[in-house]
Symmetry: C2
């Protein structure tokens, strides 16, 4: 599977990629665009025996990405593809996307405003300010911030970068999948955490249809799971330790159009997410956030049990965390 990804979109194993392309989602084009700006994050084998697992697992260390999550990819892709207005960039975000957009603005020398709900973690709010963004905290939930952001962007004309429901965003996140294909010789299955669906849709648009994609969500925040259950995006209640990164109320309609009939869904309880976050610190000294540990939690808890010969990749997707609550144990 480590042949170049280009030129494969028309083969039988890339029906999802063709479908995504028709929706304007082109990870290969995004990859060319963002390559000089984003970090090619490494992969690392987690040994058999770690995390109670009976076989080796490959971790994609996207937690080491600029601005601490995969969000830098979609944000760079969106900004680099556009003619940027005088007012620069604007975004609403639970926190990670806001950090990414602020990082992109700093890198490209642009003005930037970020709208956040009060639920955002203080670490993220502070980092966005430190990146030089004008920050507005408004309402309790992401949706409140989104509405305020939309109003403001209509006023100023700033380029509004959506965190997951936009083709350039999804295409940028898909570069994680293209990188994986170049880095890991063969793999059967990828586990990836799901918030609004941008990353999983990008992965689905990048990877061959024969690669199994498992979306993992907290059992208190599972808009993908519900969408699969009822056959389309619906509003869900949000209460989870990972809400500040995975707490989208409703799966994006563009992500749904790509992943609807393509991916599988698993949910995990908060306590398993907390445990998985601690385990990856114990095992490899990686400080990830709750959302970044959610996909690993599906493996460590047994919510997803690979078969004995299944070659599994888990994406550790974010590290915007305060490490002070990690405890010291082995």
């Amino acid at each position: 599977m480590n042949e170049g990804a280009e030129g494969l979109a028309d083969t039988a194993d890339f029906a999802t990629r063709s479908n995504a392309l028709a929706l304007g989602v082109d990870p290969v084009e995004a990859d060319d665009r963002v390559r000089p700006w984003v970090r090619r994050t490494p992969v690392m084998k987690l040994a058999k025996g770690s995390f109670g697992l009976e076989h080796d697992i490959v971790a994609k260390l996207e937690c080491l990405q600029h601005a601490g999550s995969f969000k830098a990819r979609g944000s760079f892709n969106s900004a680099l593809a556009a003619k940027i207005p005088q007012a620069g960039l604007i975004a609403a975000s639970g926190g990670n996307h806001g950090q990414a957009v602020a990082y992109v603005a700093r890198a490209l020398g642009l003005a930037v405003e970020i709208f956040l709900p009060s639920a955002s973690s203080p670490v993220k709010v502070q980092r966005i300010r430190q990146l030089g963004a004008k920050v507005t905290v408004v309402g309790d939930l992401y949706d409140d911030a989104r509405l305020a952001c939309n109003e403001r962007s209509a006023e100023t004309g700033a380029l509004n970068i959506h965190p997951y429901d936009a083709p350039l965003t999804v295409a940028g996140q898909g570069t994680v999948g293209l990188e994986l294909m170049a880095q890991v010789d063969r793999f059967d299955t990828v586990l990836v955490a799901v918030g609004g669906g941008g990353l999983i849709a990008g992965m689905a648009a990048a990877l061959p249809d024969s690669t199994r994609i498992i979306g993992v969500e907290p059992d208190g925040s599972h808009c993908l799971h519900s969408a699969i259950e009822v056959g389309g995006p619906v509003d869900v209640e949000i209460e989870s330790v990972a809400a500040d990164s995975l707490g989208a109320k409703r799966l994006g309609s563009l992500p749904w159009a790509i992943v609807g009939s393509r991916v599988e869904s698993v949910v995990v309880p908060d306590r398993e997410i907390i445990e998985a976050r601690q385990m990856i610190w114990d095992d490899a000294r990686l400080a990830v956030e709750a959302g970044g540990a959610t996909a690993l939690a599906a493996l460590a808890s047994g919510a997803y049990r690979p078969s004995s010969d299944e070659r599994v990749v888990v994406v550790l997707c974010g590290s915007n965390t305060d490490p002070h609550d990690l405890i010291d144990r082995v």
Copy 2:
């Protein structure tokens, strides 16, 4: 440079490797031995502009190794090459080596005793206990622990694994160099932190003579620097923030026999080490210990200035740290 390392030892560019082999230090043999047990740690490009650097640098993320440092390599090599006595393993250590030996003992199901000086960081002492080792804290400095350990091993017959002044230890650490040759297409220079000299000697035994090797030490703990100055190992005073990992009073005689005429030396002040540790957290969310940030400090502070076309690798060699003092900034 990414051809297999085997079979190169007799070529003109591997005089140091031949010399090391004659001293019983064989990284290629060690690599075969430890491969199933140690983590192949990833490399990652640090972007131009990070750390005030004018060009890309490759970081070898040995901080993600089992037991939090490269020491697992030498310890596994020493244990796997030996017939293990009934009493198991024993070691004296500033902390990282002790953790590694305790980790090896747990992995191989062996009894283990570790002797530590009171200067060892509480994090390290606790982790060694949690790994199931019998711990004795004795004296103020590593040398006190070493003497007590030697006495005890004479009593019990346990296999005493030296942290740096033994061929199997040095050969095991050299597998970092062999991995680098396989992972990074071409590089001119490697920066590596120096305590007693085990890692730098292993690297010198692995890498071609044409690769420049820079040993980096705190200006308050620089036994390599002094050895080069006076033409052989001498005692130095120790006072540094990185003393618990790099605080060897005297370079090992075996390391000296390998690196004496082969490597260069740079020293950095503690404040630059502290700053580099914070910078790699800011930039990539990697929590490394002071010793693990010391090689990076040489680059970030300008103590070592690569030329504009020099391809540089920096080894981040340890992460046995309490992350609570990392501050939140970007």
